[in-house]
């Protein structure tokens, strides 16, 4: 499995393939459709990530110092962004996540991930992942 940096590089390559912004987002919408089915029972407040309007649920579990993530959103594009975030952080060791420089995410060029506009909830999701990895517990 690719490490965090390699995962980001892979996604970057995929996104850079599109010259047209809308084509890129069509791709992100498709990623959302491919997101692993989320257990509806987990769509509860406990797993809700603080965002402004669209809702993001994130269920982190830790086993043998590895972080396992599942997540979803009620918004279609955000669901695609959740897919990207899981691609980067799922099944990574806590140590690797702790050492990760969050600024590297800006290389993806996705405004919804890098802009602190409190809108999509994706930022809250990343914050939560970092927090969980630092605390070593959920």
């Amino acid at each position: 499995m690719a490490n965090i940096k390699e995962a980001i590089e892979n996604i970057k390559d995929d996104l850079e393939f599109f010259d047209d912004e809308l084509d890129k987002y069509e791709f992100i919408i498709d990623l959302g459709k491919k997101l692993k089915p989320f257990n509806e029972k987990d769509q509860k407040d406990e797993y809700l990530v603080q965002g402004c309007t669209s809702q993001v649920w994130l269920v982190p579990t830790i086993k043998d110092d590895v972080l396992y993530l599942s997540g979803t959103s009620d918004a279609i594009i955000v669901k695609g962004l959740v897919h990207i975030i899981l691609e980067i952080f799922n099944e990574k060791t806590l140590e690797e996540i702790q050492e990760f420089d969050i600024n590297i995410l800006s290389e993806l060029g996705l405004a919804e991930i890098i802009t602190p506009n409190r809108q999509s909830g994706v930022q809250g999701m990343i914050k939560k992942i970092i927090e969980v990895s630092k605390n070593g517990n959920i």
């Binding site: 912004e21 809308l22 890129k24 987002y25 069509e26 919408i29 402004c52 309007t53 669209s54 009620d74 918004a75 279609i76 594009i77 955000v78 405004a111 919804e112 809108q119 999509s120």
Partner: protein
Amino acid sequence: MSYKKFFPYFKNSDMTYLDSGATTQKLQTVIDSELEYYSHYCANTHRSNFGDANKATINYEESRKYLQKFINAKDSSEIIFTKGVTESINFIASSFAKNFKTVIISSLEHHSNIVPWHMQGRSLGDGLEVVGYKDNFAFDYEEFEKILVKNPNSFVSVTHISNAFGTINDIKKICEIAHKYDSYVLIDGAQSLVHKKIDIQDINCDFFAISGHKTFAPTGVGAIYIKQELLEKIDPYQTGGATIKTVTYNESVLLDSPYKFEAGTQNIAGVIGFKKALEFIDSIGYEEIELREYKLYEYLQNELKKIEEVVFYNTTKDSISNKSFNVEGLIHDDVGILLDKQKIAIRVGHHCAMPIMDHLQIKGTIRVSLAFYNDFDDIDKFIIALKRAIKMLKD
């Protein structure tokens, strides 16, 4: 005639700007006047006496007089500059209004006219009353009067135009009713000065909160109008430099209004720039502005109606410029992202008006907010982009 040429943003940005309810674009004359102040006579006002300082003070005070005449206030002492509507409301809330047993607001307030009252420990039925609405978000005047019968001597704080839905309240009528019950009225004019002629004496409100940045002026400048008779009764909510006649270690003697209310160095460039924005509105006239905006607003509504999935919350009747809607089966955030990618600037979300969104059982809306510099072409571009976004999200 295209008015975009007066706003440099439209030359420099390829966005179709339909978010004027959040902030309007700035006039070249406004920007030039700020630049001129900073590069030619930057000095503090009301303190130093050298040439540039005097020029800055004179221009600052000219803006006050201009705004006074612009809204037909009786005297320039009734105009106090603030950093915007939020500060204007917080000022009155934390000084004059804090001692009132009951504060009455409407259902369509934005957070700036809700949160300050909560901060005073008020909650619904306990120091805070909310007037409901009738069809099409019309202010419920009968309910308002009933609340006042039970709670005379209240403080009423109501928006003129709803930021989320564009609903126009009859503020003259609200003032008439409130005054019958010895109550005072603050009108939140954040969304109105840019669209409608304000005649303070005709409205007969006690306070009127004004936004500069939503009226083509710089951010960080606004004003509060306070009726002359009340100026003596109101304490400043902050004090400091340039507010005093004399200070000893025992006491401070404050100046008269407006100076006692304008503590510290003000947004001098912003206030001076504000006058340029008002001059521009005067040069066009509200008649032309309202007519143009009405045509655009009707056109927007009609074009949106052609898209069957669009869900409306009100008609264009008794409303102006701010159109909120949703697309059936879609979350507004998704639509907002795809409109942005197509260079359309609109706002999605709760528009800082969460209680009304809760009441409608929605998380938010897609809001198009127009100003008179927009044109039919802007709306056409938006509609094309919206249709494409819907197709992408529904396919």
